[in-house]
Symmetry: C2
Subunit: 218 residues, 2 copies
């Protein structure tokens, strides 16, 4: 009894209009953050009023969620056609992404700003980012496991630490790069860090740093 409402086919250009809105939203949210990025500005960029945007997405919160999922699907299409990267391929893919990212600061900024913002109270992007990181960490861990078998290494803890660390460096470097593009070589530094961490998992060796009693609260 909830679906007896007659549903008419959407007009052919509607999908394209929605996509325009999603792109504009990513740009605005990226440059001003979600909270400070007004719907009116998004609407203006696609040539309508803010009420028009709400007609398509219902609310600002829902719009954000769709924006994030939209970028995901766009990124997935990049990988489509190629075989799913496994083992070393995934890490090479990450490095390539870092190189690509240098050419699209807007998108990088959107993710940097929104992911951090999403840790705040009741942020509409919270759930999305929790899932995203969890998924990515598992993907990296899986890639590690494939490579570990070949190298005869099996250390779950190290793999987990390295997976989280790789995602973390990439994100952290993006923030530094956005703040001072001329002082940070985003791609080269990412590549260095990823190579270092991957190598550390596959070929463990003693630390050059004595940490020992540091872990005890002084």
């Amino acid at each position: 009894m909830s679906s007896n409402r007659r549903r008419l086919a959407p007009r052919p250009e509607t999908a394209a209009r929605r996509e325009e809105i999603l792109k504009a939203s990513l740009e605005i949210f990226g440059s001003k953050g979600f909270n400070k990025g007004p719907l009116a500005e998004i609407a203006e960029q696609v040539g309508m009023t803010h009420a028009g945007v709400l007609h398509h997405f219902g609310s600002k919160d829902k719009l954000l969620v769709e924006v994030l999922r939209y970028r995901d699907s766009a990124d997935l299409q990049d990988l489509e056609g190629q075989h799913i990267p496994d083992g070393a391929d995934l890490f090479r893919h990450l490095v390539r992404t870092a190189f690509d990212n240098e050419q699209r600061p807007g998108i990088v900024q959107a993710y940097a700003v929104l992911s951090a913002e999403s840790v705040t109270d009741k942020h509409p992007g919270h759930e999305y980012f929790v899932e995203r990181y969890a998924t990515l960490r598992v993907q990296l861990a899986d890639a590690f496991h494939i490579m570990c078998e070949e190298h005869g290494v099996t250390d779950q803890t190290t793999v987990d630490h390295a997976a989280a660390s790789i995602l973390a460096v990439m994100d952290g470097l993006q923030v530094q790069w956005l703040l001072q593009p001329d002082s940070i070589e985003l791609a080269e530094t990412s590549a260095f860090a990823i190579e270092t961490l991957v190598t550390a998992v596959l070929d463990p060796r003693p630390s050059a740093l004595a940490i020992h009693d540091v872990t005890e609260q002084s």
Copy 2:
């Protein structure tokens, strides 16, 4: 003719009141972000109206800058008394900080949120974070140089990459930890990454990952 205005000494309790405001601000800005954190809420927490807060700090923007500088000075006092950490000591200090941070999610969140927010257009914290990262990177690079001499290594590029990477992992891990505290071991993972990166600088070795043509745009 503009500075002949008579300047009176502030009342004795004023300094303490200001500090209360700074603490409350860090908490509010940390939990809701700068944009969404209203002055009224800060004021309420210290028992005054938002106009009272503005009386002390002039504007919300100026308040944020003072909040950030205030935390810096508080952190500096922790290091005071001890000798300035050089070489390996600095890295051990970073690891210790990661352990401490697990006990103060509020402050961690404030820095994570505000640093990312500060990359947005005309954010009042922008300058502060640019300076902060620049300073920290130099500090790390200096520590590396001291250690490199002992090990007979001299690779400026690697040092720079590692310095930026270490700060980046710490920040990135914090975001993941704030999103999912139960899935991330903040301190242990930080320690792993720092040790790995330091060791990579002092004892370089070939990468287990063939990157080669990845750097060429496909």
